[in-house]
């Protein structure tokens, strides 16, 4: 068993792209966790989609073996966390498994919204914080100014902030020393009844369900019968190991260690993160503190563009859920789109990522409907319904009142963009709570209705601030709102995938924006078509898409015919639903793009 005094558990936290995963690479490399031929950039970002987008989605754990300057060998458990706000839940779980955090701040950019959100979470979790100023290899880096900014804005002592470069490796040895010196070792009693926090669980094709645990008390060994305290289920452990980041078996895990077990569990759904594992024969009295389950805040429908693919979609969703318990799905049927699933996500990026994985990894063609938040709809019969699907929206005459979710948002930006951002927030029905300055950066807090944010707020924010504004939010209760259902009609046919619940005052401008956008997104047809937005029976916006004028191959001879046939096959794909003339097939990318619009 490892002496807990030789263990350090820490998370790397930062704003998006400030270099967490790259620092993790250097730490792994420096301590020899991987041979250089096994290294690649952001090695812990193992999903294709993480590598492609250059972002971390799932937190990852690795044990580093480090011989410190004091001559002792230490076991450092590193947790790399995602920066994007949609995955804040991953961060909170990682924090709960550690005693300290490395707060990484890009020395050329400074403190951003997720820097604040994450560091406050770490402080709440009683973490000891090691501050590192990253990317000092960049000419624009200004570590002294950023050090001062960290003290001013966050209010923590940054005197010992370590200037580093995850790219060149500079300063990385100092980070390792600081981890050993500053972050306290875990505490725990090897003789007490087993208490292990279930931090995460996922399905691995070779190992089955893998459970990541943070040990509190007692010892975990192969062959032990454990009990999940929340469900009472028992399992016999068949494998105990750690990640280096390769999986390596170990004989046992003692207090303070972070590692994994497998126990012949079939489905991830049988495990619940935040649960406590204990010894079935010598159980602990009360579970550890655990953490709140994640709740989906954005919903949309996912429909196969070929009805035949429904079962395929169901299986694919189930497979994805094996590794991502934070999204939810249930069967939904729509008159125009047939059978599909209503799915819940942590945010719009999460939605996009799941959609992209379904299309890429499972080769599905999907139609995604307008994202919606969850409304509390009070009906005249005295009942309240939670509605997140415009198709379920009740007849307006039966409505007493509707409440919608609000958020509290923190925005950080250079002050030259303040005017544009405040305008954006006001347009989105935002209510300003606070506005302060740190140097020439403004920090604004706003309350905003979530439904104004899920469409394209983030994109708009990026574009009006040229990428310099950052944004973080948390849910902040429900409030009554004046909401109506906006329908979109293409060639006089309602497209239920595009209908949405909107604030009445904003319905017209939103309808107009969507019609304009659809006009660009729907390919021209052989006939001209009308695109309309309506509330009830009243048309509030209209665009006309003129007929196509030219679509012919200039050359088509004996050899071109086979090639061109493939082209026609492609055109035909996905059209089965749209057989009659006059039916317009809306390309699938139009659905999400149409909804991502600004109305300014």
């Amino acid at each position: 068993m490892i002496d807990p005094r030789r263990i350090r558990n820490f998370s790397i936290i930062a704003h998006i792209d400030h270099g967490k995963s790259t620092l993790a690479d250097r730490l792994i490399e420096t301590t020899g966790g991987l041979q250089s031929r096994e290294m690649k950039e952001q090695v812990l970002d193992s999903m294709d989609i993480e590598r492609e987008r250059g972002i971390t989605i799932k937190a990852q754990t690795t044990r580093l073996t480090y011989k410190a300057k004091d001559g002792e060998t230490y076991y450092l458990n590193l947790m790399d966390t995602p920066g994007h706000v949609d995955f804040a839940y991953e961060v909170s779980r990682s924090l709960a498994a550690c005693e300290g955090s490395i707060l990484l701040v890009d020395a050329s950019q400074g403190v951003e919204a997720q820097t604040l959100a994450n560091v406050y979470q770490a402080i709440d979790a009683n973490h000891e914080i090691v501050v590192a100023l990253n990317k000092i290899d960049l000419p624009a880096a200004d570590p002294e100014r950023i050090r001062q900014q960290i003290e001013d804005v966050i209010g923590i002592d940054a005197t010992d902030a370590i200037p580093i470069s995850g790219k060149t490796g500079m300063g990385v040895p100092d980070v390792l020393e600081a981890i050993v010196k500053k972050i306290p070792p875990p505490e725990g009693d090897p003789k007490a009844p087993l208490a292990a926090l279930l931090v995460d669980s996922w399905y691995d094709p070779y190992l089955g369900v893998v459970i990541l645990v943070r040990m509190q008390d007692g010892v975990l060994r192969k062959g032990m019968k454990i009990r999940m305290m929340a469900t009472g289920a028992t399992h016999v452990i068949d494998r105990v190991g750690i990640f280096t980041p390769k999986t390596e078996p170990v004989d046992e895990l003692g207090p303070g260690e972070i590692g994994f077990i497998t126990a012949g569990i079939k489905e991830v759904a049988e495990t619940s993160v935040g649960d406590t594992l204990t010894d079935d024969r010598n159980p602990r009295a009360a579970p550890l503190a655990g953490f709140k389950p994640s709740i989906p805040v954005v919903f949309c429908g996912l429909f196969p563009s070929e009805a035949d693919d429904f079962n395929n979609l169901r299986e694919s969703l189930s497979k994805l859920r094996l590794n991502d318990s934070s999204f939810h799905f249930e069967v939904e049927s729509s008159p125009a789109l047939g059978f599909g699933f209503r799915c819940g996500f942590l945010g719009l990026l999460h939605l996009e990522i799941v959609q992209e994985r379904l299309e890429r990894e499972f080769d599905l063609d999907l139609i995604t409907t307008a994202p919606s938040v969850v409304y509390h709809v009070h009906l005249s019969d005295g009942t309240m319904q939670e509605i997140h699907n415009p198709a379920d929206w009740p007849d307006p005459t039966k409505l007493v009142k509707v409440e919608e979710p609000w958020i509290k948002a923190t925005l950080m930006l250079p002050d030259e963009y303040l005017g544009a951002i405040l305008k954006l927030c006001e347009e989105r029905r935002g209510v300003q709570q606070n506005l302060t300055y740190i140097g020439n950066r403004a920090v604004a807090t706003y309350r905003l209705p979530l439904n104004e944010v899920v469409f394209d707020f983030y994109d708009r924010l990026k574009s009006v601030s040229r990428g310099y504004a950052s944004f973080d939010y948390s849910l902040d209760g429900y409030e009554e709102g004046d909401l109506v259902k906006l329908s979109i009609l293409v060639n006089a046919e309602p497209v239920d995938a595009l209908s949405m619940i909107v604030n009445k005052g904003r319905a017209e401008s939103r309808g107009r924006a969507i019609c304009e956008r659809l006009k660009d997104l729907i390919p021209k047809q052989l006939f001209k078509i009308a695109i309309q937005a309506a509330i009830g029976g009243r048309v509030v916006a209209r665009e006309t898409l003129s007929a196509m004028r030219k679509d012919v191959l200039a050359k088509c001879y004996g050899g071109d015919i086979s090639r061109k046939r493939k082209l026609l096959d492609k055109q035909k794909k996905g059209k089965k639903r749209m057989r009659a003339f006059g039916k317009v097939e809306i390309p699938q990318e139009a659905f999400i793009a149409a909804l991502k619009i600004g109305d300014e």
Binding site: D551, V552, G559
Partner: protein
């Protein structure tokens, strides 16, 4: 029963994959020229064509046309061209008035050989003029001037009974007035030959132009300009006595390319040479063949197996119906009802019931009567979309 359809004929396409330089817009199966061994190629064409002849059974029909395409077949040694014509004659016989075409670029190496090709039996020359404007020729990466092109044309007209040439329009920056002037000159030059092909520049992915376009360069004309240029081309061609008989091909009636018409009328043809395609009789009616694209590998395969075919697909009747429509509707004569029935076994009326076609007829895009189906002048520039809509309505098998 409907009127008998005009016979499609039976063609042999011979692909020569080499060019002096590769033009930046071209996505044909082409390679930079190299020295070749004419005897080796001759033997390979002989074996490959003999093998293809097996698809025809004992009663081999005579060939109505041979087409040497490329690449730049005018770079073939003339004795090789003569050799291939001999092989074709021995294997199939040639009809009396068989059309034998060679494609050529207006460069000196090629024009110098015109007489030798004529002597080999070639009776039609297709010249790649592409433009009469020197700046456009530079943009297109061509290695000749407008003056050289017209000189080559004059020479070809003196040597070959029939001559046609190609032009590429809808080039970046070319407006209606520019094309009106250039097309006027081209139509005047085409008066003697009686045939010309007018292609809108197509940006093909994978070509240098394709890559430039992908990076954002606007090389393709926008849809409205392309439609206007096309309409202008139709009008001027017709006024000059060279109406379009196919999407991009114009001829004085009687001067149509008989070989290319085999494709459009969905007749049988053999494809020999690297990357050549064929449509041969087969167990389902039509079998599609596709040859190995790489010249060296094609040669080696023929030498080893007696043929260069890479893939062979017996086409279902649904696919034959699709191909027939896709090709046949390119012609102004359209798809005769009799041919549709002969190829697919369906009558046009049962495969595409009147009621299904009403909206397309109503939009003025197609015309149909007991003789067959054709696109209107308004529908022709929309051929892909119209055919896609028609194909969507075909019975599934």
């Amino acid at each position: 029963m409907a009127d008998p359809a005009p016979s499609p004929g039976f063609g042999l396409y011979v692909h020569w994959p080499y060019c002096e330089a590769i033009c930046p817009y071209c996505d044909f199966n082409v390679r930079r020229q190299q020295t070749v061994d004419p005897l080796r190629w001759r033997a390979a064409f002989a074996a490959d064509i003999t093998q293809a002849a097996q698809s025809f059974g004992p009663e081999r029909p005579p060939l109505t046309s041979i087409y040497f395409g490329g690449g730049t077949p005018a770079l073939m040694p003339p004795e090789l061209v003569a050799g291939v014509i001999d092989i074709a004659r021995q294997t199939f016989a040639l009809t009396d008035n068989a059309e034998i075409t060679v494609e050529a670029n207006p460069t000196a190496t090629e024009t110098d050989r015109f007489q030798a090709f004529r002597d080999a039996g070639v009776n039609r020359l297709s010249l790649g003029i592409q433009s009469l404007r020197d700046d456009a020729l530079i943009f297109l990466g061509r290695r000749h001037s407008g003056a050289e092109a017209t000189a080559a044309l004059t020479r070809a007209l003196a040597i070959f009974p029939r001559v046609t040439f190609d032009m590429i329009y809808a080039r970046p920056g070319q407006d209606l007035a520019d094309w009106r002037e250039e097309l006027g000159e081209a139509l005047a030059l085409a008066r003697d030959g009686g045939h010309l092909s007018l292609y809108q520049l197509t940006i093909e992915s994978g070509t240098p132009f394709g890559k430039r376009a992908q990076k954002g360069e606007a090389l393709a004309a926008d849809e409205d300009l392309a439609a206007d240029l096309y309409a202008l081309t139709q009008d001027m061609g017709a006024a000059a006595g060279l109406p379009a008989y196919e999407v991009s091909n114009h001829a004085r009636p009687g001067e149509e390319s008989r070989h290319n018409r085999v494709y459009w009328r969905y007749g049988p043809y053999i494809g020999s040479g690297p990357g050549a395609h064929g449509r041969l009789p087969g167990p389902t009616g039509r079998t599609a063949t596709e040859a190995i694209r790489d010249p060296g590998r094609w040669l080696a395969a023929v030498e080893q197996h007696g043929h260069g075919i890479d893939s062979r697909e017996n086409l279902s009747r649904r696919i034959q119906a699709e191909e027939l429509l896709f090709m046949g509707l390119r012609l102004s004569e359209g798809v005769p009802a009799a041919r549709f029935h002969a190829v697919t076994g369906w009558t046009l009326a049962e495969a595409l019931p009147e009621a299904e076609l009403m909206p397309l007829i109503g939009e003025g895009l197609i015309d149909r009567d007991s003789k067959g189906l054709r696109l209107t002048a308004q529908g022709r520039p929309l051929l892909n979309a119209v055919v896609a809509a028609l194909i969507d309505r075909l019975p599934s098998s």
